[in-house]
């Protein structure tokens, strides 16, 4: 990379100790990037330990961002710029880089002790390890401490400013304004004026470092192409933020308060945190004693007339399974958000995966169908939250919305939607009749098979619900064999009926028919999008997992090969074989890391060469 490069897009990776403030630095860089008109995608990659032992490779926290002219749909394959705060960060990140990448290292951390902790026998700055890269070394720790000296902070307090010092350097490299970051620091540290001023100073000093002769090597300044984005108002958004806003918006569209009940779990907790800030939209949050209590309280809230929502990740969702069946049987609306992570069991809490599809579609006792949706991008969590709530209330059923750990934390620019474009969410009407309240409460809409949402407190509609099988008409407990058959059929038909209300499947891009179609779902959208663009093959991405869109089989039938990249062992492949009797080519990656674009490109190319 040469000085004063003009580039279309660039991938930057910031890596350091989990206590170095890397995630904060990355997210602030993303915001200033967006404000300057670039498209971007981010990938926070952090350890499960809160503060892993300092200087170790397993304690490395990283934040990758891909920015530039659009469309940017992934955090990028190989970082072109690496900022390594310590030897461990260098050790972990170097294998991801292509030769020629720019490596900025914090000299001060390359002590004998830190080198040993990272497993380096010799200093990689001197032993030829970095020969193939452009290396800029800077005494970031030392320069930062000098910059904030006048504030009289302790060494550790002063040291905590170094992420902003490095951020200042990066902002200079990409010719970004400091204003938005300064404003953020001023807001965030309003109550700690000394730390506030020291951080602002560090930021400015880092920026000045880029311009002045303090350089130990030439730091390149890079000019990025402006993104070609659809006109509109944009903001930076993570999946957790979009999901929270979407749930609150669904409450507004339904004119009904939202009661969110959950138990803390990685990576689902950010949704709970975000929702606490939306209280004035009629959103309540209840931190339950466990996962089971969380879903049960959400069911209780739905029974009481609010939109009950719960959220968790794989292991927590497993605990909620029995209660999902209760909501199915009681015919109550409920939204269940699953931020998938690596499994089985506790698995990889902070690493992403999409291996809960079987659990969502098939994983309950009894014949217990549940509609399942999936969000593809951080921003799409907003509309999928609305869609899930709409289905839950229309069909009076729990709905599972699948997201994943990557989406929860990854930020992207998001065009703020026009709320007027969303249809209001309406509730099924209680029939006016002389029938018993029990019968009226279970009079289902002919098309959706959703029953009226009758809640305690409504006069003259007293009735009983529960987990026991009930008569299809009177709603009273029934162990009648023929009735159970009818109820089982009705529950299946109800879930199938969702397909009558959703949009037909579309092809994202590529020809309408041909040799290869790539089918994806969830957060693999980004890499599949790029890979299919580059190779010119067709791309179909699913938002509705159960039921599938009615025309999906017809679309896929027009292709010879169906390639299915998934971050699991081929779960959607199984589903398509089950529901559509179609032969698919599973392409699985379960490393806890998102797909790289080139991995999918290579797979497509190998399919093509096999065919020819």
């Amino acid at each position: 990379m040469n000085r004063n490069n003009d580039v279309d897009s660039i991938v930057i990776r910031l890596a350091g100790d989990s206590g170095d403030g890397i995630q904060l630095m990355g997210s602030q860089f993303a915001v200033s990037t967006a404000l300057a008109g670039a498209d971007f995608a981010t990938f926070p990659d952090y350890p499960a330990e809160i503060r892993a032992p300092v200087g170790t490779t397993f304690g490395v926290s990283a934040y990758q961002i891909n920015l530039g002219g659009g469309p940017i749909t992934t955090a990028g394959d190989a970082p072109e710029v690496l900022v390594a705060f310590n030897p461990a960060a260098l050790k972990v990140s170097l294998p991801m880089l292509d030769r020629g990448a720019l490596v900025i290292v914090n000299n001060d951390s390359f002590t004998a002790r830190n080198l040993a902790k990272a497993g380096y026998d010799t200093d990689p700055r001197e032993d030829g390890t970095l020969n193939d890269y452009q290396v800029v070394t800077a005494d970031i720790s030392h320069l930062n401490l000098e910059a904030v000296k006048e504030f009289g902070l302790s060494k550790s307090e002063g040291g905590r400013c170094k992420n902003f010092y490095a951020l200042g350097m990066l902002l200079w490299m990409f010719d970004r304004e400091l204003g938005s970051v300064e404003a953020w620091i001023n807001r965030r540290l309003a109550g700690k004026p000394t730390m506030r001023d020291a951080n602002v100073r560090a930021l400015n000093a880092g920026h000045a470092f880029g311009e002045t002769a303090e350089l130990s090597a030439n730091l390149p300044q890079i000019k990025l192409t402006q993104a070609d984005m659809e006109p509109g108002e944009y903001r930076s958004i993570t999946g957790a933020e979009a999901m929270a806003l979407g749930l609150a918006a669904a409450g507004e569209l339904a004119q009904t308060p939202v009661m969110f009940c959950s138990y803390p779990i990685t990576p689902a907790s950010p949704l709970l945190h975000r929702l606490t800030h939306l209280a004035e939209m009629g959103v309540g949050t209840f931190q339950a004693e466990d996962e089971i209590a969380a879903i049960c309280a959400a069911i209780g809230a739905s029974y009481g007339g609010m939109i009950g929502v719960t959220s968790s990740s794989g292991p927590g969702i497993a605990l909620k399974t029995e209660a999902m069946g209760l909501a199915v049987n009681a015919e109550l609306p409920l939204v269940i958000v699953n931020w998938q992570r690596g499994g089985p069991s506790t698995g990889l809490p902070t690493k992403t995966e999409q291996s809960d599809l079987y659990q969502a579609v098939y994983g309950r006792n009894g014949d217990t169908p549940v509609p399942v949706l999936s969000a593809s991008t951080s921003g799409e969590c907003f509309e999928m939250a609305i869609e899930a709530t709409r289905i839950a209330i229309r069909h009076m059923t729990p709905v599972i919305l699948l997201a994943d750990g990557y989406l929860s934390n990854a930020a992207e620019p998001w065009r703020i939607p026009d709320m007027a474009a969303f249809e209001p969410i309406t509730k099924n009407i209680v029939p006016e009749s002389d029938d018993s309240p029990q019968r009226r409460a279970f009079t289902r809409d002919e098309k959706s098979l959703g029953r009226p949402w009758v809640t305690p407190g409504m006069p003259d509609l007293l009735h009983r619900i529960g987990g026991l099988e009930k008569d299809i008409e009177t709603g009273h407990i029934s162990y009648d064999p023929a009735n159970h058959q009818r109820m089982t059929d009705m529950r299946a038909a109800k879930t199938d009926a969702v397909a009558e209300f959703i949009d037909d499947q579309h092809i994202e891009h590529g020809p309408d028919s041909g040799d290869i179609v790539v089918v994806g779902w969830g957060s693999t959208y980004g890499p599949i999008y790029q890979a299919t663009r580059r190779t010119g093959v067709s791309f179909v991405h699913l938002r509705h997992i159960n039921p599938l869109p009615r025309n999906l089989g017809e679309i896929l039938g027009r292709f010879d090969k169906i390639l299915m990249p998934e971050m699991n062992d081929g779960q959607l492949s199984t589903l398509l074989r089950d529901k559509l009797c179609m032969e698919t080519l599973p392409f699985s990656k379960v490393t806890g890391q998102p797909f790289l674009i080139r991995e999918i490109v290579e797979k497509i190319e190998s399919l093509r060469s096999n065919a020819s």
Binding site: G300, A301, A323
Partner: protein, 328 residues
């Protein structure tokens, strides 16, 4: 409600399906009577239950009712109470449902002081699953799953409840109409979790397990009916009382005629005496053993909620986030 409802107005059309002679029948009658006595509005009342014989209760009460899953009734009821704090929400549970599979939810309901009336039917046995020993069964209980006698020590519902930070604990006997109706009325009036342990006789699997203190003939000598501010007297002619033994730190039975001034006066706000009363074996303490009012969870929840769950702002007030930009 203009016309006052009678107990029979709280009965549903559903046929009651407990075993003939089951203590649940008497409890059902007592609850129906208590609801009529306090002028409960059926539309504003909900009964939530888990699994077990007791959990069939909602089907037989003409109010709203939700028969949920094993052990989870307190969690469902908490969500319901949060969604609509105006509702009168009752939880019906048993010793297995409430203290075994659902012990965790009961614990947190009690510490939060959610505004629920919790009726725990204690019969020291699993009924619906056909007679296995329960968490309140005494050591040595023989059952299909413990043919050589159970080895695990039982939990004391009262001590469990006090340990969880409960604010209301009362006891009653299924067949004691007067005592039951009294504690049910007091529970109904309480703000927060009102927990009642009801000694219930399982006629099939654990008959007469409480007979040593529930027999009508001997009850005056084996039960102590507590009233706040009144001396702790029992016996045919209130001739016996309880006093505090300062050497053993325990309660002991004494002759109340001989030394009336030594008889303890019931202070239902005293948690230490409540724990001693809970552990008494003969007489067995009945009535409101402990009551210490505190802010209920739902009141705290709404008081701390910036808009009391009202929609004061629109999505358009939030959707832009901390900063946004325009692309032309």
């Amino acid at each position: 409600m203009s016309d006052k409802l009678m107990p029979k107005d709280f009965a549903t059309s559903q046929e009651v399906r407990w075993c003939p002679g089951c203590g649940d029948y008497a409890i059902l009658k007592a609850v129906q009577k208590a609801l009529a006595d306090v002028g409960a509005d059926p539309a504003n009342t909900a009964f939530v239950s888990g699994i077990g014989c007791a959990a069939r209760f909602p089907y037989y009460i003409e109010t709203y009712g939700f028969h949920t899953i094993h052990g989870r009734a307190p969690a469902v009821a908490t969500g319901l109470k949060l969604a609509n704090p105006e509702l009168d929400v009752w939880v019906v549970t048993g010793d297995g449902d409430g203290l075994s599979i659902g012990g965790n939810h009961l614990m947190h309901t009690l510490r939060r002081n959610v505004g629920l009336k919790v009726l725990l039917f204690n019969n020291e046995i699993y009924g619906l699953t056909k007679g296995q020993y329960s968490p309140t069964s005494r050591i040595g209980t023989t059952s299909p799953s413990s043919p050589r006698g159970s080895v695990d020590a039982p939990v004391s519902p009262g001590q469990f409840v006090m340990g969880c930070g409960a604010h209301f604990f009362a006891r009653g006997v299924d067949t004691d109409k007067v005592g039951m109706s009294d504690v049910l009325r007091q529970a109904h009036a309480f703000t927060g979790t009102a927990f009642i342990e009801i000694f219930q006789n399982c006629i099939v699997y654990n008959e007469d397990v409480f007979a040593n203190f529930t027999e009508r003939k001997t009850a005056p000598n084996t039960q102590l009916h507590l009233r706040h501010g009144e001396p702790m007297l029992f016996g045919e002619n209130n001739d016996k009382g309880l006093r505090f033994n300062q050497e053993t730190w325990s309660l002991e039975v004494m002759d109340a005629i001989e030394a009336p001034d030594d008889v303890l006066v019931h202070d239902e706000g005293n948690a230490i005496v409540a724990r001693l009363l809970i552990d008494l074996h003969l007489p067995v303490a009945m009535g409101v053993i402990y009551r210490q009012p505190a802010v209920s969870f739902e009141d705290g929840f709404y008081a701390h909620h910036p808009s009391r769950m009202e929609r004061k702002k629109s999505i358009t007030d939030f959707i832009q986030g901390p900063s946004s930009w325009t692309v032309d």
